[in-house]
Every structure is written in structure tokens, then in C-alpha cells.
């Protein structure tokens, strides 16, 4: 996941304020704090993960992005990061809107369900795909709203936000997604990375 972090670090300006939503064990927070000297906060639903973050000296609040983002006023942060968790929310639309209210910009990464391995799994096995980045069975997966790179682009049109930058992660390499190559990026991309803002 180093490539993903590097990309996120590349778009975040030095000394900015950042909120990592679903910060997990704080790996990205530490990375950004060290490399970009950002003033970074985290919000994480798991008590165990919050404890790990505290042990790393990170400022994290235990909370749920769907319920607890509302306590932050408009434009509280320069960037809000949502790493590979959009698909786990009950209402991704509300979450995206909240991210763009709390942050001036948001960075959202999604595991791409359009990836060829996922497609082949379903096509040949006829069972719900299980891959290294999507390791759960259908009945116990936290990922209840999987989407593809293409879906996310469509989503931006439907709920009306602007994609400033879109990239695909393929084999640890990052490449731009454009209108002309989206078919291939959606087929080979393991991860979609989007910098978004309000229109």
C-alpha cells in the first residue's frame, strides 16, 4: 500500500490540516505526519485501533464517520482522507457529502470491483469474488456497497461533486484515469484514487 500512501502524500500540501476518516491503526497518519508535517487528526470506529493510535501519539477520536463527522464545522480541514472504507458505509452518499463539508478537499480511495480478477472469479466460479484486497465471504464482509472505478465516476455526476484528479493503482504503479482509458483502468486497476471537491 506504500504507492497509495505516496500518492496521498504527494497531493497533500505541507503544513496543511488533515482528517483521516477510518484511520485504522494510524499508519497513514504517521506517514503524513512524518513526510508532510501536517496537523493530522483521525477518527476510527474500533476501540482497539484507537488504542494503537494513542500508543503512537496520534490524536484520534473513537467514532463513526456516518454519525460523528457532523460535529466538525464546515471547512475544518484542508483535506479529509477516506481510505478504502466508502464501500463499508450504509449511506455512501451522506458520507461523501459530509467529507466535502468538513474538508475543503477530500481524497477517496476505493477497492475496484471492476478489476478483471473480480470479474473472472464471478464469471468462472459463479461465487462472490474473494481476493487479497477483498478477503471476506459475502455473508461476513463489511463491504456492503462495492463499486467500480466507473461507478465512482458516475457517482460524481449523480450527486454532483467534482473529480479533480483520478488515478488507478495497477501493480504498484499509479497512472491517470482519463475518459479515453477508463475502460482499461477499470479492468486492470486494483484501486481507484480520487481527489474530489465541491462543484
Amino acid at each position: 500500500m506504500k504507492a497509495e500512501y505516496n500518492f496521498i502524500a504527494n497531493i497533500i500540501e505541507k503544513n496543511s490540516t488533515v482528517l483521516d476518516v477510518g484511520c485504522d491503526d494510524g499508519t497513514l497518519m504517521e506517514f503524513l505526519r512524518k513526510n508532510k508535517n501536517v496537523n493530522i487528526r483521525g477518527i476510527e470506529i474500533s476501540k482497539e485501533k484507537v488504542q494503537i493510535c494513542i500508543a503512537k501519539g496520534l490524536t484520534v477520536i473513537e467514532g463513526n464517520a456516518e454519525l460523528d463527522l457532523k460535529q466538525f464545522p464546515k471547512n475544518s480541514f484542508d483535506y479529509v482522507v477516506l481510505g478504502q472504507t466508502l464501500q463499508a458505509f450504509i449511506n455512501p452518499e451522506i458520507v461523501i457529502k459530509e467529507l466535502l463539508r468538513v474538508g475543503k478537499k477530500a481524497i477517496v480511495t476505493i477497492p475496484n470491483f471492476g478489476n478483471w480478477k473480480v470479474r473472472l472469479d464471478l464469471l468462472f466460479k459463479g461465487t462472490m469474488p474473494i481476493t487479497s484486497s477483498l478477503p471476506h465471504e459475502w455473508y461476513n464482509t463489511p463491504n456492503i456497497h462495492m463499486c467500480t472505478i466507473k461507478d465512482f465516476v458516475r457517482f460524481s455526476e449523480i450527486i454532483n461533486f467534482k473529480i479533480v484528479k483520478s488515478l488507478a493503482l495497477i501493480n504498484k504503479n499509479i497512472s491517470n484515469i482519463s475518459k479515453s482509458n477508463i475502460f482499461l483502468k477499470n479492468l486492470f486497476g486494483e484501486l481507484g484514487i480520487f481527489l474530489i471537491e465541491n462543484k
Partner: protein
């Protein structure tokens, strides 16, 4: 009684105007310290005690001969590490462990103050204790820490003195005492004042202490510090040293015997009038009202880094009330961390051996201390 006279006391000469309108001066503030103040004087932690606590945070309490009330958390290599930090704790004013309180003699009447003692508030308590910083020549505390009423003092302290603490750890507390909190405190006060030995607060010799009322107050309060699950697991319907019910009003059940014991040991160390005064101070605590309904304004001027903790089974100061403080701080972009600790031990969790809590407290303090040193 000799040991009581050896209690460390700072006589505060400077007049202190109390919220009730009265002014006190030349009054004693009893305190204790642990660990060593370093050369830079940047390792001091002011610990605030809860309702029935005192300045003897850890080690053996010289008066009660029992372990200090926060022995699990404070000591060498513990969460609040006495090898690293200089810990100061004062008995609150209104208390009964040496600080100016209702059991002191009124020089005018030569009798104890009793209910002639001015009503004090959480604000008055911290305004008295801030004098300790001057006394030790400390410009800025590394941290202010406390649970329950101690947490309320933490909030009030940072609000009153926004640049006097680098970090603040309010634990299992509230920014505004709820109706339920007030109700339980009133129950305790009524138990005390209903004891005929209370005599309008003018009791003064050992034979006439309102021990029964105070014991009942303690018993009722003690229930609020525990959780239903915790009580059920510890006592259930177990009988006390008997095989069957005795069809009377002796302590048949272990829980009854336990509460009676808690009540009886409490009266040996606590003053009934102090109990009235301190519970009143808690009831009057409403930091939200102090800032015209907007708690965020209490912390507008501060850069203090907060870390707030609550406990899953604490129904006296539940998680939501602690979260309200987090929300108020986030609303102004303050630096705040928060975690709810899983525990069956109720409100008392912060005083007990709850590893997740003790680890989080230690990690927050130690990492913040290193961070602070790297900055400067």
C-alpha cells in the same frame, strides 16, 4: 491526630473571591507531591481528586493507612509515572483533609464553621489550586488530570487558565451536572441532614457525629459508582455468612453487608459537612451555562491538547456526556482525542485496575511529553 498536623499546607494569603460573593484569604490548602520537579519545570502534573478523594493520590495514605485512591494509576512506571513526572494534588477547599473547610474553627465563634462555611464551587476549587503553580514556580503544567469531579476541575481549570496546561485529561465526567446527578447528591445530603446528630451542621465532638446519615449517603452513592452487571457478577444473590434467609433485617445478602461496610469505613475518614459542600459544588457545576449555552466558548482561547476517556458501563457520567465535551472541542478545531473504554466496573472504572484505561492514559501522557520536548 498528630499526623494530621504534619499534612503539607500552603497558606494562601491572596484573597479569593468566591462565586457565592464572599471573599476568603489566608486560608490553608493542603497538598501532597510525588516525584521530582525537573530543572526546566516542565514535568508537573496537577491531579484533581473526586468527591471523596484527597491529596494522598498514591502510596499509603498517612491518615487512613490505606492505599492512596489512585494507586493503580500513579506511581513508578505506572500510567502517571512518578519517575518521570512531578505530581501535585491538593485537597479541594470545602474538603476535610487539611484544606479550608466546614470542619475548621470559625475564629469569630470559636466553633466549627459547619453550614456557616461559604458554599464553594468547582470554579472556586481550581482558583484556589492555581496558587500551587506560583508556589512551585511552575509557568506551565505538563498536564491536568482527573476523573469524575476531578474531570470537572480539569475542564474548569483549562477554561480559567487557557495557557497553564500543555495537556488535559478529563475522565468520566461531564460539563454540566445532570438532573440525575443532582438527584443522587440530594439523596445523600438528605440522609446526612436527617441524622439528628447532624444538628444543623453544628456537631463538634466525637459522640455526636452524624455517622449514620453519612454512611447512608455513602451507600447510596456507592451504588451509582458500580454497574448492574458488575454488582450481579460480584455479589449476585449470595448470602452473607449464612446458609439461608433469616427472615429479618440483618444483612442477609452479601451486597447488603458490603454496602454497610463501605458506609462504616467512610465515616471514619470523611466529614459529613464536607460531603454536603462538595456535592453542592458538583451540582452547581455547569460550564455550558457559564458560557451562555455554548461549551465551545469555554475553550476558545486554549491550545491545550485534550484526551477524554469514558467507560461503557458508567451510567453516572455516561459516554454521551463525555462526548459532548469532545464535540464542543472539535467545533472550534481544538486538539482532542477520545476513547470509550470497555469495562463492567461502572463509574469507578477510573479508580480500578482497568488495563485498557491505564495503558491509554500512560500512552497519551508519555507520547505527549516526548512530543512537547521535540518541539521545544
Amino acid at each position: 491526630m498528630n499526623t494530621r498536623e504534619n499534612i503539607k499546607k500552603l497558606i494562601i494569603e491572596k484573597p479569593l473571591r468566591l462565586d457565592c460573593g464572599k471573599t476568603i484569604s489566608k486560608f490553608p490548602l493542603a497538598y501532597e507531591t510525588y516525584g521530582k520537579l525537573n530543572e526546566n519545570k516542565d514535568n508537573a502534573i496537577l491531579v484533581f481528586h473526586a468527591l471523596t478523594g484527597d491529596q494522598f493520590v498514591t502510596g499509603v495514605n498517612p491518615i487512613t493507612k490505606k492505599d492512596g485512591w489512585w494507586s493503580y494509576a500513579v506511581g513508578p512506571k505506572k500510567s502517571i509515572d512518578t519517575d518521570k513526572y512531578f505530581i501535585i494534588c491538593a485537597n479541594v477547599i470545602g474538603g476535610c483533609m487539611g484544606s479550608f473547610g466546614p470542619s475548621h474553627e470559625n475564629p469569630e465563634t470559636k466553633k466549627i464553621y459547619g453550614t456557616d462555611f461559604p458554599v464553594i464551587t468547582i470554579n472556586d476549587m481550581v482558583n484556589a489550586q492555581v496558587n500551587l503553580l506560583d508556589f512551585f514556580n511552575i509557568k506551565k503544567l505538563f498536564s491536568v488530570v482527573g476523573g469524575s469531579m476531578g474531570g470537572m476541575q480539569v475542564l474548569q481549570f483549562v477554561s480559567n487558565f487557557p495557557d497553564k496546561a500543555k495537556t488535559a485529561v478529563p475522565i468520566a465526567c461531564t460539563s454540566s451536572h445532570s438532573a440525575q446527578n443532582i438527584a443522587f447528591n440530594e439523596l445523600g445530603r438528605q440522609a446526612i441532614t436527617a441524622d439528628h446528630n447532624w444538628m444543623d451542621g453544628k456537631y463538634n465532638s466525637k459522640s455526636t457525629l452524624p455517622d449514620k446519615g453519612l454512611a447512608v449517603a455513602r451507600m447510596a452513592a456507592h451504588i451509582t459508582y458500580l454497574s448492574k452487571k458488575g454488582l450481579q457478577e460480584k455479589f449476585g444473590r449470595n448470602l452473607q455468612e449464612r446458609d439461608d434467609l433469616k427472615f429479618g433485617f440483618d444483612a442477609d445478602f452479601q451486597i447488603e453487608s458490603y454496602l454497610r461496610y463501605q458506609g462504616s469505613v467512610f465515616v471514619d475518614r470523611f466529614d459529613a459537612n464536607s460531603y454536603l459542600y462538595i456535592t453542592r459544588a458538583m451540582d452547581y457545576f455547569d460550564l455550558v451555562k457559564q458560557f451562555d449555552g455554548n461549551l465551545s466558548n469555554a475553550f476558545k482561547k486554549t491550545k491545550t491538547k485534550f484526551f477524554i476517556m469514558s467507560f461503557t458501563s458508567d451510567w453516572l457520567y455516561p459516554t454521551q456526556e463525555n462526548k459532548d465535551i469532545v464535540i464542543a472541542l472539535n467545533a472550534i478545531g481544538a486538539n482532542v482525542g477520545f476513547v470509550e473504554i470497555e469495562s463492567d466496573k461502572g463509574h469507578d472504572s477510573f479508580l480500578l485496575e482497568v488495563p485498557d484505561f491505564l495503558n491509554a492514559l500512560k500512552n497519551f501522557l508519555d507520547k505527549s511529553y516526548i512530543e512537547g520536548n521535540n518541539e521545544s
